[in-house]
Subunit: 367 residues, 4 copies
Amino acid sequence: MSKTIAISTGGGDAPGLNAVIRSVVLSAHQRQWKCIGIRNGFNGILSPSEFARHGGGTLELTPDTVRGITHLGGTILGTTNKGNPLHFPIVHSDGTISEIDRTDEIISTFSSMGIDALISIGGDGSMEIAHVLAQKGLQVVGVPKTIDNDLEKTIATFGFETAVEFATNCIDRLHSTAEAHERVMIVEVMGRYAGWIALHSGIAGTADCILLPEIPYDINKVIQKIQEREHSGSHFSIIVIAEGALPKDGSVSVIGQSIGQAVRLGGAGEKLVKEIEHHIQKETRLVVLGHLQRGGMPTANDRLLALRFGASAVRAIADGHSDVMVALDPPHVNTVPLSEVTRRMKRVPIDSEIIQTARDIGISFGE
Amino acid sequence: MSKTIAISTGGGDAPGLNAVIRSVVLSAHQRQWKCIGIRNGFNGILSPSEFARHGGGTLELTPDTVRGITHLGGTILGTTNKGNPLHFPIVHSDGTISEIDRTDEIISTFSSMGIDALISIGGDGSMEIAHVLAQKGLQVVGVPKTIDNDLEKTIATFGFETAVEFATNCIDRLHSTAEAHERVMIVEVMGRYAGWIALHSGIAGTADCILLPEIPYDINKVIQKIQEREHSGSHFSIIVIAEGALPKDGSVSVIGQSIGQAVRLGGAGEKLVKEIEHHIQKETRLVVLGHLQRGGMPTANDRLLALRFGASAVRAIADGHSDVMVALDPPHVNTVPLSEVTRRMKRVPIDSEIIQTARDIGISFGE
Amino acid sequence: MSKTIAISTGGGDAPGLNAVIRSVVLSAHQRQWKCIGIRNGFNGILSPSEFARHGGGTLELTPDTVRGITHLGGTILGTTNKGNPLHFPIVHSDGTISEIDRTDEIISTFSSMGIDALISIGGDGSMEIAHVLAQKGLQVVGVPKTIDNDLEKTIATFGFETAVEFATNCIDRLHSTAEAHERVMIVEVMGRYAGWIALHSGIAGTADCILLPEIPYDINKVIQKIQEREHSGSHFSIIVIAEGALPKDGSVSVIGQSIGQAVRLGGAGEKLVKEIEHHIQKETRLVVLGHLQRGGMPTANDRLLALRFGASAVRAIADGHSDVMVALDPPHVNTVPLSEVTRRMKRVPIDSEIIQTARDIGISFGE
Amino acid sequence: MSKTIAISTGGGDAPGLNAVIRSVVLSAHQRQWKCIGIRNGFNGILSPSEFARHGGGTLELTPDTVRGITHLGGTILGTTNKGNPLHFPIVHSDGTISEIDRTDEIISTFSSMGIDALISIGGDGSMEIAHVLAQKGLQVVGVPKTIDNDLEKTIATFGFETAVEFATNCIDRLHSTAEAHERVMIVEVMGRYAGWIALHSGIAGTADCILLPEIPYDINKVIQKIQEREHSGSHFSIIVIAEGALPKDGSVSVIGQSIGQAVRLGGAGEKLVKEIEHHIQKETRLVVLGHLQRGGMPTANDRLLALRFGASAVRAIADGHSDVMVALDPPHVNTVPLSEVTRRMKRVPIDSEIIQTARDIGISFGE
């Protein structure tokens, strides 16, 4: 049976988004389905007038539209978020702002456009919206997207490995300079609540300390590691810190916070520089990788994963599934209920084998 | 209890070998164990005189010896294979050659050197030797190594992803030239019995056809794919072929062959060029990636996997395991009996979800 | 004064072609000139019917057309050469083929299209055509393009450095495998008449021997180098050979040959493998980089050079120059008469400082 | 005649330092000269006791010592600067600090060690010391080293291109994120007094604005550029700013300052973010590349240049030259008097052809 499906990319940029889109479009095309892309998350539906210049808030996606985009970073659909449909901001004439739920509007617009199903690519926030839409009767399949790799029920998400590869290469670059100049070099990487990027890139890049949101650090232990290296003749150290890592005593619990709310922790690296220079006389320099981790050409593995997710999402729709997310459970891609995914977070298990490996090869977590 | 462990790297080169060695040495050092590296597989033990110039066939490995090698390709121990200990060639005075089993000699030499356990890094052949040594009473833990990713019971092996990444980048490079010159470009990649590299790099690099050892190809279907593209306005095609891929009618069964025996299939790409040019008038060019796939800096993920394997192997020894191989079962590294690993091969399941994804996005397997 | 200029890309693919096109179009746009791109060299003019599907053999190029192409390999105009306008093949009804000069036709078509000037991007062959067109009264500026870096009067051409970078990275990859397996590894790179790629990548990749078209090699000297290394404990060697390198005694002079004629020298690497294995017992393996050297993303420097060439060509047209080629004379880009460029070739001077550097650091040229 | 030469690497880290060292050592070895490496600039001579753990402040460099280092970043000799020999800090017992000239001590120590000549690799500061030592009678040849490419009399220095390549790749990565999120992205690159890195990477990475120390910028013109793009439908902009770029009205002349003195300009990028967000409502994000630009594997071209400089320096010594620096004057490496090099600076000529190219393709310099 022929279908028309919509695709939406929400949340931040991630390498592999275009590969998912291409895979969805080609898989749908094989089935002679029609694909409609929504611009900028759900903005193309909720604020179509903003896209007048681009011919509207939606566009038909054909094999030609998605030609040659597998290896390109970014998303041809845009991701600029101007309002979560569950809590859409309304500015009143007196200047006050209130929020409304606009999900019914999405469903009715889809209906009027003849859209049978939605593939929603995004993070925790997008999965929550997807779940609500599915509960309201729309056929919805989610595709997980998070650079931080902190989504539950999937071993990996595309973009994460690309970010780890870039971060590792940056750490590689700093070794020679750290050694030649006899410095402490700190690299701050992404990871607000989960330290996956710091953990993987720190081990692969042979950092001396890795500081994670999951393991509050004791600055004295960090100093001790630097000094041990100093005494053994290595007059430099490399520390990888996740943006959400916190010192033990200053520890602010994030558990009680709504994860959907963007909490500004910030300055993890800067704070650490000051602490180290306060304790020992050692030139300490910071590099913040920031937005560089979100862009770039996806690695081969991330392209493959993104293509698999896209094709699997279309297959899930063909099989009549809804209210599910595709997920990697090696070697398979399967589906999991959206209700098991939202409002949770996959953090680094502090007794995992990877953590143990890091300890075994002499890496300190500042404990 | 203090131990002395030996490390050996057998079979061909693979990115990540040095990372395994470093991880073993540092993990052992943490436990105050001593590490002995054996040069060139078991040659350092069986033919020590060849290494006189290097101070002998074995060397003590300390944290200093393995400093800064995580990201380097190759192996500081060498892998040149001059004789499988199970079938060691003896040249007699009359010029004839016979084979003897020298595994007892390895065990007695280890004993005289005070070596308590062996970590054997290698492919199918090395795992078989490891199994025999373990059966004879030595504590042995294997670490799987195969670029082709064809070892059973582990989802992945280090080096595979690095090879896929390189192959994908090469395929990327050929797109513009293929299109600008309106040619068929064929890329031959490694994979004698299992087409994992071809499959992953072909999908990630958006090849039009992927030809695998697991799916004998019909040349007419390959031609048909090229012509369909031609008719739709794409005057070029990219075909990725595994070195072990065979046409349907010329199909030689490899199932009945001893996998240990190196069978020279060869020339898969050249054969395909001739077949295509025989059928249609279209400039067709071949690139054979060959040894380029074995070298280079391991990707971050391969470094991480190699470090995990090394540390896990030491942990397995500490826990008293023997006759096992460490293996990736995401998110865990566990151990599997060597008897379940040897003389088998992990081939691409032809009905797998990855194959299905490729079909869904329009890739032909020449079926 | 407003102008309409045509752009053509001839000869083989080279990283940077798109950057030249973008630079020409944007520079022309700043002057409010119009740009017309010709598809596939001059084919878009000479055989427009072939391009019916694409809307004709020419297309208007605007800033939108060339958006985001600076870093892409290939050329949006195509380069497939189906006939040199100076010697265009005509197939007669009796099956015989003769050649005609179709340059007058190009000039009259340009005139009818209101085209005031031509920027012709290409190699030696394209520069010759450009010169003829200029002699016939068309305003023409050439932009040099050769991966081999063998065009006279310009220190460098875009694409060359990208090819050298790729070749060097490939040589890097082979070191560990060559060493681990104790092999001789031969890398055949582009360079039919001039050995620039072999020379630069061989030095940067620390090859042991570099074999160039400019220095016929003595196989005994090559063997001697391998054996010297063997005796000093380095049981592997890396040899970089240009596709046009020839042994001393089999030396075929290319000096007397018309350079325009593509001479098939071929098989330089294969020949060398056989010679080495004939002389010594040493596993010797060949890697032919081939088409991989033509594609890929241009390096930053090649992009910059390509953009400079494009903008300089437009400036040359604005300044009323014709029958010239833009050329790099660091730190300047200037113009040189086309008559000084064609039918010549920039070969490696065998007494140059670069050759001397290679000798000083112990590299053999097989002399 | 046999000689003993010393090598020193001063100033900051730069990709290619190890390649220079290797080239010097191998070139000297060919002449049967002896090479002595000095650790950490001249510290190995002036404060040898600090290096007791490493076996002293100097070490003999042989072909074995420098094996396999061509492609490695950093320097095996170290560069940590603890005192310029021309102004060496002395801490008196009352806590006051005075400076003394210790160059005579270097000369007498060299004499007692039998050192005939010095190859000094470094920046402006190192060239000044080299000049003083040469004036005092030591045979000295300088090798220019500056990532910023701001040394006079040489078209290029190794490490510069590697930094440009990295910066360009970072700018590439930001395009998709900037576009997907509709942001202004600012990339701060090195270049305190000279904007070469910003200029080259900004053009190659297709920035919209490039802000250089040589062209004080008008914030209104920067805003105007962003708004022009906004109006034309490009809701994002990329700005590359050199760390030494200054706004017009806040312009602090650096001309009158002693270049040797490290002036902390700092925060160029941060200042710009604030200015932009002050003027327009547009999310603006900063990435500071910082130390990442100093490390990493040198590009093929930088390796080649470094190897040429090293071999040329040895040749200059063999030819009896002194008080000179090797310099690139394409296609040649020649020597220039040190007196013409020191206390000057090669800044971007604001009317150069490269600047003109940038303007022609629509890049704004904030003028």
